[in-house]
């Protein structure tokens, strides 16, 4: 099996497969990519993702057939270094960054990636959300130090884009196992209400309505408004809100909402957006756990790759994406998690069911990293 690599069907979970293939060194073949579609084969954003993968690795072999419906990928070594990439505008930078975050600690050289494109759109996690939740999460796994940062240089809303972020990450030889079984109580809520190419007043209107919902729970709320102008404001107008709840144990739960891209669907009022985003945060709090729903897969990956020791992590309900990720982890690393349901007690008012994930890491060691 291993010598022949792994076979998959369809373009769903495209990033998971390629990322896990790169980390495990196993070849992967994906067939039937939109084979029954009117317009079969890989889309531009997927091609752009492959190009990004090619930039951070050395010696990868990628073969795509003529229709683009079959992809063969033989991973090379993760090289890292300084790269620049123009992300395709069909998906936002978050799409590319999610995968890059999984790969970055295992490079040969520390990564400095400059990504250009859409920073905020409604489909993918925005760079603001990744910045405020993923970085603290990765620090728990021992990935930290100087030059671990995600900077938003320019903001670019969908569909025009024009944004730019710089992501820098140090390399690690091994990943520290974690024991995160208690998320602690939420002590404060922070947020960013951003607006570009619209009235700066939009930000204030969003903040006002979001506070209205959240103030009944906790007084410590600070949502700052971020209005970028001129060359830093990208090519399309838009606004949005990212909310992050921080617990006493240093866990972060986040929710976000962006305005609908110009010319696609009904426009939203900033008041509605603020209120709905606040409700999304409440939903996230209800789900609970030590990691919010969009970062579950990253946390589970780092647990899998940890030293040969037991890692425990309390999560909210598993998202469909995470469930598929667990199956892929089994395919690539032969690791199966122990999954226990934690029911809330009778008189507890702490939201819904939680899931305790336990595994023993594979003891992954970063052979790419040069010895100094």
């Amino acid at each position: 099996m291993a010598s022949h690599g792994l076979d998959y069907d369809g373009c769903n979970f495209f990033r998971q497969r390629l990322v896990l293939s790169t980390l495990s060194g196993k070849r992967v073949k994906i067939r039937n990519i939109r084979s029954k579609d009117d317009n079969p084969g890989l889309r531009d954003f997927e091609a752009s993702f492959i190009r990004l993968l090619d930039k951070v690795t050395n010696g990868s072999r990628i073969e795509i057939n003529q229709t683009g419906a079959v992809l063969f990928y033989q991973p090379g070594l993760l090289y890292g270094g300084s790269i620049e990439h123009d992300c395709n505008l069909q998906r936002s930078i978050g799409y590319y960054l999610e995968a890059l975050l999984m790969l970055a600690p295992f490079m040969k050289n520390p990564l400095k990636a400059t990504l250009r494109g859409i920073t905020n759109d409604p489909t993918d996690p925005t760079v603001d959300r990744l910045k405020s939740t993923v970085l603290p999460l990765m620090k728990k796994f021992g990935i930290e130090g100087e030059g671990f940062d995600l900077k938003v240089m320019k903001r670019g809303m969908a569909p025009g884009g024009g944004g730019e972020v710089v992501f820098t990450c140090p390399v690690r030889k091994t990943i520290r196992p974690v024991q995160l079984t208690d998320s602690g109580k939420i002590k404060r809520i922070r947020g960013v209400a951003y607006s570009v190419r619209v009235s700066p007043q939009m930000g204030n209107r969003i903040v006002e309505s979001a506070r209205g919902v959240l103030n009944q729970f906790i007084p410590d709320i600070y949502i700052h408004t971020d209005h970028m102008k001129g060359a830093n404001s990208g090519k399309s107008p838009g606004f949005g809100l990212t909310l992050v709840a921080e617990t006493l144990e240093g866990c972060f739960l986040s929710a976000e909402m962006s305005s609908t891209p110009q010319g696609q669907g009904d426009p939203v009022l900033p008041e509605d957006l603020g209120r709905n985003c606040a409700k999304l945060l409440l939903e996230e709090v209800y789900r609970g756990g030590c990691v919010d729903s969009s970062n579950q897969s990253l946390a589970l990956l780092l647990m899998t790759l940890g030293q040969q020791d037991v890692s425990k992590l309390l999560l909210g309900p598993l998202s469909p994406y995470t469930i598929e990720f667990l199956r892929h982890i089994r395919d690539f690393f032969q690791i199966m998690f122990k999954i226990e349901v934690r029911k809330p007690l009778e008189d507890e008012r702490k939201g819904g069911d939680k899931v305790l994930m336990t595994c023993v890491g594979v003891g992954y060691s970063n052979l790419n990293k040069s010895l100094k």
């Binding site: 069907d9 369809g10 373009c11 769903n12 979970f13 495209f14 990033r15 039937n32 990519i33 939109r34 029954k36 579609d37 799409y95 999610e98 489909t123 993918d124 996690p125 109580k185 939420i186 002590k187 919902v213 009944q216 729970f217 906790i218 007084p219 006493l248 409700k279 999304l280 409440l282 939903e283 709090v285 209800y286 609970g288 729903s293 969009s294 897969s297 598993l318 998202s319 469909p320 994406y321 469930i323 598929e324 667990l326 199956r327 089994r330 199966m336 998690f337 122990k338 999954i339 226990e340 349901v341 507890e348 008012r349 702490k350 939201g351 899931v355």
Partner: protein, 178 residues
């Protein structure tokens, strides 16, 4: 008629606490009591019971004498089926809640179950193309990590807001923490 029935019922209720004169009476009253208890769903109020009884009587009056017993049985069967419906439902719900969903099986369950592609060939030339219905996921759906919120949660309701109160530092604390 209605007045009469009501009088009857109230009469029966009033009679109950009184000691019976003979054994026959005692038996009668016991039987009556049993029937009453069986019909009682434990949730419905006294008024409902009365209504049921009156309906019972009405049916009896309408029916012929021959199939009287049968219809009564049927009626009772129907009633028994309806009995404690709410209680049964709540019990079933609790049982389901108690039975821990085997997540491991859900996640890592055998992949074989979703069907071998049995492509039926028509005349050795055409193939019947069936939509992938039993797949666990859409093979060509959008690759996105977004987790849609549970639409049954209405965060305008007080009880929903109440259900997460203790997640915040302002909520109730456990004994051992401070």
């Amino acid at each position: 008629r209605k007045l009469e029935e009501e009088k009857d019922v109230t009469g029966a209720v009033a009679e109950l606490p009184v000691f019976a004169d003979s054994e026959d009476d005692l038996e009668m009253s016991e039987e009556e009591g049993d029937a009453g208890r069986a019909a009682d769903s434990g949730h419905c109020s006294e008024e409902d019971e009365d209504e049921e009884e009156s309906a019972d009587e009405e049916m009896d009056d309408d029916d012929d004498d021959d199939d009287d017993d049968l219809s009564k049985e049927e009626e009772e069967g129907a009633l028994r089926w309806k009995d404690r419906l709410q209680q049964k439902a709540s019990e079933a719900f609790l049982r389901q809640q108690e039975a821990m969903p085997n997540l491991r099986k859900l996640v890592y369950g055998s992949e074989e179950e979703d069907g071998e592609d049995v492509d039926e060939e028509l005349g050795g030339l055409f193939r019947v193309n069936r939509p992938q219905k039993s797949r666990r996921f859409q093979a060509n759906a959008l690759d996105c990590s977004h987790f849609n919120p549970d639409s049954s949660h209405n965060w305008d309701l007080e009880e929903m807001l109440d259900s997460i109160k203790d997640c915040f530092v302002t909520g109730k604390w456990e004994e051992d923490q401070d």
